[in-house]
């Protein structure tokens, strides 16, 4: 919401500069986003009067002007514009001046002639003709500027003279005299055979110019009249200098003349305060903030139009629940015209483009009162009846923006007896738009159900300024003053005749809200010691009525429903920063991490200790990710929570596996040529089947790595280290019983702790890597957090240190390739007779000396008895038993 400080000044006097104003308003609850000095970029630009003009001797289109800028001597300025005449008031950018867009003007020579600045057009001042409709330039076709499309065959002869016929009644004529007459000019012409005089709106004429004169209509031809293209008359354009028709004199600063002396404050208004989406609402806040009186104005409508509103207009609201209040007045014999400068300036400062007086009035009232208004052409209200009803299914309506909409019963329309003429609260219909010849206007000032408007606007994808206001729920008490204000402005602007009487349909019973004033409770909530008097004072400044202990809430404050809301009002103006700061009292509570969180921290710590960097990945993925990790089309794990309104396919389903997320990040790092990467994340997966239709959100420790220091056994070692750190008991790694399509079939293991499968680790399948566009070996592990949480974990208990020395023996056995080290180890433990304490693999050998299809596996054995020193014979007996078992069970023989 933008606020013009000039407009604000009409309601409350605040002398603070923009910064102080912004700070104070922000701290009292109206957050200021920006302040903007409209004239900030304009400097050293003044009003000048053209006192003398001469054609530039070295140019066919420039003029050398002497301009009175209120100094002793006029300044000389060269301009290429043709719409300037002696006596005109013009904006003059003097030497060392600045213009919008950071443009700097300095003196200089134009084709050898000194120019001490620049005369400005509208666009150079950041304006356009909607801001100053009178500044529209209609160029005449000046024959001296004629550039034929085809030089061989000019449409107008080269050396045409006054009196020569151009076509039909059109002849060439020379301008012999020119006098301004309001927005037009009276021109005397030499028509060759005699003289003529004509009135013309064309402002680019000067004495001596040769023009095309239509003897029949007594007009000077424009390009359009000659059916000429712009390029044929390159200097006869609808652009030029902004000729000021304002009350000003040479030397005046231009900024106030064009309304650029205002400052605009941009507020962020929270949705609970639609009343602040208006000048009056913000003025009330400003008045309370700065302790200044609020000067509200009561609209006065003379209503001198002839006729009776009741005879002309009838309003019905069959959808009463959606139309709390509908107020309307009528204006006859409307004269559509531009609105006056002060109104255009105010609209513009608030970011609204001026259109015409009637439309501008509706916008003005919307800004001032916060009440959206709609004006529609009475002649299109067939039967003189307005019906506010739900749209019929499939009903069609073309809105003001020219778009056709197909409506449903959820839309509310303004209709006559036959058809819809507007989308209530959103946008008017094209079929009832105010146009140049509109004679009778109906002003509608209504409130509609916020949800209905919001949903309607959303369904049509057309959130308008009006709908944005209505959807927040507007004050029905505001419709009448607003429509009266509109009518008052109509009379003020002389834009039409207001009919006496008002149509006002109330479909609700106004019930002012009354709350008890409870100073102790308010102080209790805030932790303050604010006096009752101060509270009353604050509330009254905001137009709450306080009568004893009863507080009546103003109708526009629908957000205030209880003590806490009153407390906020008090706190805002007492000052949030004047509330003391205290530390919490009361019962002490024991803070801390949950067991889950502790596990998560421990896992993270272990991963980092082993060189893994933590990553954070999106929880949503693309459904195609399941294809990329080669899950079968009918894999039940593909059943994912699907977002119905995702940002895009890539983020449309909730992942049921962390693998694609890890692979994506590994790939990204690989593509960045980062070497030896190790990553981990404790991420969630989202499985269907939770309570209340929610997800089962399981956490997974996801590890991923690649590089020269990574292989299957390195990753396995990391997983083992983590499990050992957690004191997992009975850790096993097994070839998965169901093939895992995402991993290399020969380099993957399921991880078990006891009988609990806690996860999987291995090398990513080359085809999966290929799907990610990499040819590297990626290694990943996925450990189920819940399983880690609940697996068997030993509690450390002291075991006395050995008192007797151990005997170590190395054995190497030759066995079939198919026999796993795990099987050999198990067999060794089985064969031992109670003295074996440790078995450690130290070598696997294939090649010379070992038969094809066999391998030699070497273990280091540690044997020890707890109660005596072992003799060599005892150790040998144990080793023999082990070797016997290896040979018998696995055919592994001592090498």
């Amino acid at each position: 919401m933008n606020l013009s400080r000039k407009w604000l000044e009409e309601f409350v006097s605040v002398s603070a500069d923009d910064k102080a104003f912004a700070e104070a308003m922000t701290l009292s609850g109206s957050k200021v986003e920006l302040t903007h000095d409209l004239g900030e970029e304009i400097s050293n630009v003044v009003v000048g009067r053209v006192v003398e003009m001469a054609r530039h001797e070295n140019s066919d289109h420039m003029w050398v002007c002497q301009i009175d800028v209120g100094r002793e001597e006029p300044v000389q300025i060269v301009t290429g514009a043709w719409n300037v005449h002696v006596g005109d008031l013009v904006p003059v950018a003097l030497h060392k001046s600045t213009l919008p867009g950071g443009k700097k003007i300095e003196k200089g020579k134009l084709r050898g002639v000194l120019s001490n600045g620049m005369l400005c057009g509208l666009s150079e001042l950041g304006l356009d003709t909607r801001d100053f409709p009178y500044a529209v330039i209609t160029p005449a076709a000046i024959l001296g500027d004629y550039h034929p499309l085809d030089k061989e065959k000019p449409s107008i002869p080269n050396h045409i003279q006054p009196g020569h016929k151009i076509y039909g009644p059109v002849v060439a004529a020379k301008v012999t005299g020119l006098t301004a007459a309001g927005d037009a000019y009276d021109v005397t012409l030499d028509t060759g055979s005699g003289s003529a005089s004509a009135a013309t709106p064309c402002s680019n004429l000067h004495e001596g110019d040769l023009v095309a004169y239509n003897t029949k209509s007594n007009t000077i031809c424009t390009l359009a009249d000659l059916h000429a293209q712009q390029c044929e008359f390159p200097h006869c354009i609808d652009d030029g200098i902004f000729i000021l028709h304002e009350d000003c004199k040479p030397g005046d600063d231009l900024k106030p003349v064009i309304g650029a002396d205002d400052h605009v404050v941009e507020f962020e208004i929270t949705p609970n305060r639609p009343d602040c989406l208006s000048v009056i609402g913000l003025a009330r806040e400003a008045a309370a903030t700065f302790g200044q009186p609020l000067r509200l104005h009561q609209p006065v409508v003379k209503a001198e139009g002839e006729g009776s509103l009741v005879d002309l207009l009838d309003v019905e609201t069959p959808a009463a629940d959606l139309v709390p209040r509908y107020t309307a007045r009528m204006v006859r014999n409307v004269k559509i015209a531009p609105s006056p400068k002060w109104m255009r300036e105010r609209l513009r400062s608030m970011g609204v483009r001026p259109i015409n007086n009637i439309v501008d009035i509706t916008n003005y009232v919307m800004l001032e009162y916060g009440q959206p208004m709609h004006a529609f052409d009475y002649r299109y209200v067939k039967g003189g009846k307005i019906i506010v009803r739900r749209a019929e299914e499939g009903e069609k309506l073309t809105t003001l923006d020219g778009k056709e909409h197909t409506l449903t019963a959820n839309h509310l329309v303004i209709a006559d007896e036959h058809r819809a003429v507007g989308l209530a609260g959103i946008m008017g219909g094209e079929n009832s738009e105010i146009v140049a010849d509109t004679a009778d206007v109906v002003f509608e000032s209504a409130t509609f159900d916020g949800t209905c408007i919001r949903k309607g606007a959303l369904a049509l994808g057309m959130r308008t300024e009006a709908s944005a206001k209505f959807e927040k729920g507007l004050d029905p008490m505001n419709t009448l003053p607003a429509v009266d204000r509109a009518c008052e402005l109509v009379e003020l602007l002389g834009a039409g005749e207001v009919l006496p009487g008002t149509i006002d349909i109330l479909n609700y019973v106004p019930q002012p809200k009354v709350l008890p004033l409870e100073p102790e409770k308010i102080n209790g909530l805030l932790g303050t010691d604010i006096s009752r008097d101060e509270m009353v004072d604050i509330l009254q400044k905001l137009d709450f009525q306080v009568d004893g202990d009863a507080v009546t809430v103003p109708s526009w404050r629908g957000d205030v429903i209880g003590m806490a809301d009153l407390a906020e009002e008090v706190a805002r103006f007492h000052g949030y920063n004047n509330i003391p700061t205290t530390l919490m009292r009361g019962q002490t509570t024991l803070g801390g991490y949950s067991p889950e969180e502790q596990l998560e921290r421990r896992l993270g710590g272990m991963c980092r200790a082993m060189g893994y960097d933590e990553i954070i990945t999106y929880s949503f993925i693309s459904p195609t990710c399941y294809d990329k990790i080669r899950w079968a089309a009918d894999d039940s794990r593909r059943q994912s929570f699907k977002i119905l309104n995702p940002l895009g396919e890539d983020t449309s389903i909730m992942r049921t596996t962390v693998l694609p997320s890890m692979l994506e990040i590994l790939t990204r790092n690989y593509n960045y040529r980062n070497q030896n990467v190790r990553l981990y994340e404790v991420g969630r997966i989202y499985l269907p089947g939770g309570d209340d239709g929610l997800a089962v959100e399981n956490k997974v420790l996801s590890m991923g790595a690649y590089g020269s220091d990574m292989d299957f056994y390195t990753l396995k070692g990391c997983v083992e280290a983590i499990l050992k750190d957690l004191r997992a008991e009975h850790i096993r790694f097994e070839v998965p019983c169901v093939p895992n399509p995402s991993y290399h079939p020969g380099r993957v293991a399921d991880v078990y702790v006891g009988d609990r499968r806690v996860g999987v680790l291995g090398q990513i399948h080359p085809l999966v890597a290929q799907n990610y566009g990499v040819d590297a070996q990626f290694y990943c592990a996925e450990l189920d957090f819940g399983q880690l949480m609940h697996m068997d974990r030993s509690v450390p208990e002291y075991v006395p240190l050995p008192k007797f020395p151990a005997v170590t023996r190395d054995i190497a056995v030759v066995c079939d390739e198919a026999v796993t080290v795990g099987a050999l180890e198990a067999c060794i433990r089985k064969g031992a007779k109670g003295l074996l304490k440790e078995v450690t693999l130290f070598d696997i050998y294939r090649g010379k000396g070992v038969a094809e299809g066999k391998k030699s596996v070497a273990f280091n054995l540690v044997l020890r008895a707890d109660d005596r020193s072992l003799t060599s014979e005892e150790a040998d007996a144990d080793v023999k038993s082990i070797l016997d078992t290896l040979a018998a069970d696995l055919g592994a023989v001592l090498r």
Partner: protein, 341 residues
């Protein structure tokens, strides 16, 4: 004989003095004190001496032996020390050669920021809660006083899983307030960090998934002054003692009064600069006194209990903490980025 002994003493002591290493020293020991050594040879002649001479000579011989042994020991120690010194010198390393790398992993910067926040609150007796991200709209909105029609419920703002807008991705961590009230005994002091989701396209400051930390206190007699005091303490711990804060009125459906908390801009000290967009303050978090409706909906009597709550955006906190310029870096997970923290 006396002459001989004196000569041995002179010679031997001189030789010992000039010995260069342990071997030489040992050779000298053998040469003079060994079984066939010079001194031994002289002593063997003792028998030939007269009874009168013998004691004096014996004494002298013992003196010479003692002197030699003494010298042997001193010299031995000296040479040992020298040998050690030589060895250590020979073993000296170029200590500027880089150490052999032990590569440790790095905590993600956002979680570093989160850990700091958690530690502070745990120290104040808060419990850390975790909850679902796929959440009921009832908990994310209705129970937080954001009724039907609240703009944040729009499909353009929030991700939904069903056409009834019943199940959604939580748009804030605030439903954890409701879950805490429903499941915990009073008084409550919790923080609940976690992922939240909003329909924002990815850019330098937006992401459809980001993180918040929710905090809530409910007890008898909890005041807005407590809220201010507690959050000020937190900010001082996060940003250093004496960090200035200010509280501004704001609006959230589930708190009343509501506020936003700003910290004074660290760059300009409050004068105004590009970092704080000229305001001198940087918005840090939203907070407020829990709305009586919210307490009531959770079966807590607002006439007996009161509470406050806050929500803080984690990405922004981490970005400010580590001067990270672009939010996308957080989720890109480039190790060259991660390993800076």
């Amino acid at each position: 004989m006396k002459e001989q002994l004196e000569q041995i003493r002179r010679e031997a002591l001189a030789a010992l003095e000039s010995a260069q290493n342990a071997q030489e020293l040992d050779a000298l020991r053998v040469k003079y004190l060994g079984k066939k050594g010079a001194l031994t040879a002289v002593l063997k002649q003792m028998g030939k001496l007269s009874a009168e001479e013998r004691p004096a000579m014996g004494q002298l011989a013992n003196e010479v032996r003692a002197a030699l042994e003494q010298s042997l020991e001193t010299q031995g120690k000296k040479l040992e020390a020298k040998a050690l010194e030589d060895r250590l010198r020979a073993e000296a390393l170029d200590v500027t050669v880089p150490g052999k790398g032990v590569k440790t992993g790095h905590r993600h910067p956002m979680y570093i920021a989160l850990d700091e926040i958690k530690e502070i609150f745990i120290g104040m007796g808060f419990t850390v809660l975790d909850g679902p991200e796929v959440e009921l709209a009832e908990l994310n909105f209705d129970r937080l006083n954001a009724e039907e029609g609240h703009p944040s419920r729009d499909w353009s703002d929030t991700f939904y899983f069903d056409t009834d807008s019943r199940v959604m991705l939580r748009s804030q961590t605030s439903p954890m307030q409701v879950r805490a009230m429903d499941s915990m005994d009073l008084p409550i002091r919790i923080i609940a960090p976690g992922r939240v989701y909003r329909k924002d396209e990815v850019d330098a400051t937006h992401s459809p998934m980001f993180h918040q930390v929710e905090g809530m206190v409910i007890d008898k007699g909890v005041t807005m002054a407590d809220l201010k005091g507690t959050l000020n303490t937190v900010v001082e711990q996060l940003y250093g003692k004496g960090t200035k804060t200010r509280f501004r009125p704001h609006h959230f459906p589930f708190t009343e009064p509501s506020c936003e908390m700003d910290v004074q801009c660290h760059k300009c000290g409050g004068v105004g600069c590009p970092t704080c967009k000229g305001e001198g303050w940087i918005e840090l978090l939203g907070a407020g006194m829990i709305h009586p409706n919210v307490l009531r909906m959770s079966g807590i009597d607002p006439d007996v209990y009161s509470g406050w709550a806050f929500g803080i955006g984690l990405e922004r906190t981490a970005m400010r903490r580590f001067k990270i310029a672009d939010l996308r870096l957080i989720f890109e997970n480039d190790v060259r980025f991660l390993e800076q923290f």
